[in-house]
Symmetry: C2
């Protein structure tokens, strides 16, 4: 099955918004065995829309169109698709009722121009849009399908999940399922070599990808049903986990801070931070996870050296060793642990800006962890601008934490 995506909107052509809908749909199609061959973006222009949508309908089994379903005169996607199919738009009584109920509030009645959002053509059935006023369309004729969805990503994603995906799954000859194992501490070529016995399979297949949070191994299987695909994946996943062992820190959509949070909770440990160069970004990443208050006591963002000292870093440490040093990171970890009364303290000091400090280059980060008995330390150097340096330091700190917690869990087991 061949598919095409068309995203409609003059804002896209002016670069005012990035079309993320196309990438969303592209990422969702492979699991249904549908090959996406073309993606196009076009402005709210009747002639060009007719051309692009007409070509898509002609050459593709599935045409997914987003945008241009609003109530204004510019929003003409329904009209153009009706024209391409040679069908007539008519107000659908049921859709009109839903729309009026939705838009009428005390003292406010629906503007008449909105009525076009309740229109259908004979080949279309409506797709519910609980997050907006414009229903989508599922159009089917002569073995071809066109799906119209609203442009706002929150509306489109919800409609996809609730209406479109299940319909595509029902029709699919085969389903593609994948499981991603996320690793840290290994290079791409090392993971590739470790998994080489598994890489020869074509179904399930294994792919290795380098990502910002480490190297990912993705196991993908194709089968007539979702259950059968999982049956193919499972033994390979077990084998890959056995080979990669403690280097796997998470799977699929899991984030490093969720993984660390889960381990802290399992081991009944609490955490406190003292952050300098990251300015609070590590605390923010940790508190992006629901329930972080179970294990996270807080972070002392001691940007000024004076603030470090006020929070328990002995004044002589930065004086003797420098602010950007292993010793200061360790003193910060110790002070955070004591001051915020946590089991583990972690300190980060480094350079997020583009200038050398104390003879050390931009991007240098010293990270130390203290558990009351011993220190664990790592340092890194990465510079592609201030925000990237902070982001990378956050990943390094989470990796240090994770490796420590892994080892501790292993020690407790052993």
């Amino acid at each position: 099955m061949h598919a095409e995506v068309v995203s409609v909107g003059t804002e896209i052509m002016l670069g005012e918004i990035t079309d993320t809908n196309a990438a969303f749909i592209a990422g969702a199609l492979p699991q249904f065995g549908i090959d996406l061959l073309y993606v196009s973006q076009v402005g709210d222009n009747p002639g060009r829309m007719r051309e692009v949508i007409g070509r898509a309908w002609k050459r593709s089994d599935y045409t997914f169109i987003t945008g241009g379903l609003g109530p204004t005169e510019d929003d003409i996607t329904r009209e153009i698709l009706a024209e391409v199919l040679g069908e007539t738009l008519e107000v659908d009584a049921e859709q009109e009722q839903i729309l009026r109920a939705r838009m009428t509030r005390p003292g406010y009645s629906m503007p008449e121009r909105n009525i076009k959002q309740a229109m259908l053509i004979p080949s279309a059935r409506a797709l519910a849009n609980p997050r907006g006023t414009a229903p989508g369309w599922w159009v089917e004729r002569g073995g071809k399908v066109a799906v119209l969805m609203p442009g706002p990503p929150a509306e489109m994603n919800r409609m996809w999940a609730q209406e479109v995906a299940s319909e595509l799954e029902r029709r699919a000859d085969s389903i593609l399922v994948s499981r991603t194992l996320k690793t840290t501490g290994l290079g791409e070529s090392t993971v590739d070599e470790m998994l080489s016995p598994l890489l020869k399979n074509s179904n399930p297949s294994v792919g290795i990808y380098h990502r910002a949070d480490g190297v990912h191994a993705r196991i993908t299987a194709k089968a007539p049903t979702r259950e059968q695909a999982w049956t193919l994946i499972r033994p390979l996943e077990v084998e890959a986990r056995r080979i990669l062992g403690p280097y796997v820190w998470g799977q699929d959509d899991e984030s490093l801070s969720a993984s660390v949070g889960g381990m802290l909770r399992d081991q009944r440990l609490t955490l406190a931070l003292m952050e300098s160069a990251t300015g609070g970004a590590l605390g923010s990443a940790i508190t992006d996870i629901d329930g972080a208050s179970d294990y996270f006591h807080g972070s002392l963002v001691t940007y000024a050296t004076q603030a470090k000292i006020a929070n328990g870093v002995p004044a002589e440490v930065p004086t003797v060793h420098g602010v950007i040093s292993r010793e200061t990171a360790e003193a910060m970890a110790k002070a955070a642990r004591e001051h915020l009364r946590a089991d583990l303290g972690l300190g980060i000091t480094g350079i997020a800006g583009g200038m050398e400090v104390e003879g050390q280059p931009p991007g240098t980060m010293h990270i130390a962890l203290y558990d009351g008995e011993e220190f664990v330390y790592s340092h890194s150097r990465y510079y592609q601008g201030r925000e990237a340096a902070k982001r990378r330091a956050v990943l390094s700190a989470l990796t240090l934490l994770r490796n420590y917690l892994m080892q501790r869990a292993g020690a407790e087991l052993g």
Copy 2:
């Protein structure tokens, strides 16, 4: 002049990466008076690439192509464009020399397959790529132009800035320039009404846009040169600034944290925070700005109530008034100011998670600022998930700070 963008890469068609290059180019073209009519994405497939690139070359004055310039067999954009133009690829001696110099290191010589990156066709001249191995192409024939650029955004953006933009500006009949004024504290329709006397102009024109950090007013002018366009913009900008007065907090790419940082520096004031629900995100936003250490002392991320008390919040305040309360936010502001010895202290307490706490709904945020004499307070309620709630609270806190600093500057002047 009509343009078309073609982004090449199978990863795009699989949804593994979002094509941000197309949006970047789309946003850059209007200033040169070039209308972007079509954008397409296509995988690394010879037949479909030939079709899409062939059509673009035929119907557009400018065709901008990104991706597929790497050294592997999949990277065939050069070959396809050569085919479309009926020209022959040949190794260019100068490009070969640059490439070999770049890729040869002690103990490592250039793999021979890389040589194709040094190839040109007669109608093409090379565009330097200081961030990668693949040079771009500027192709010109029969009044039409095709520009080939590498897919990685860092390489593409640099090549655009250093090679492509100046060439487009040189050829442009007219240049479009715009100035964006960013406001806070006013609704979209209010800004629209206030600026209505200016909205009738067509050159310069004024557009009003609702964005996450407030309402933006964009003044755009078209003229034969950049200088002439600015001459058209300036009087309107002066007038818009007069009308909007203190509601304007920044312009163009400026961020709210940069604006607040500049005001703190100008007024020689220092800032300390105590953050709870934002988990460090406010400190992180403030330290995204170069030189923040001039005015930012730090943030006490007191996620646990016990940590608030350990950092100077009187234990009875959260007990009597609740942790999620104006009184606790004020006590946090006061404690941050004292503990980190800053001129201003700011406290945030609230609910980032999706559950009610102390009878208050998700997204509730209490924000207080203390300058040693009086408190300023704001509260907000916004919930579209945890990360959005944190982001919105950061904007609210920066807005509170900005309004305080504005008033203070006014009082000093007055």
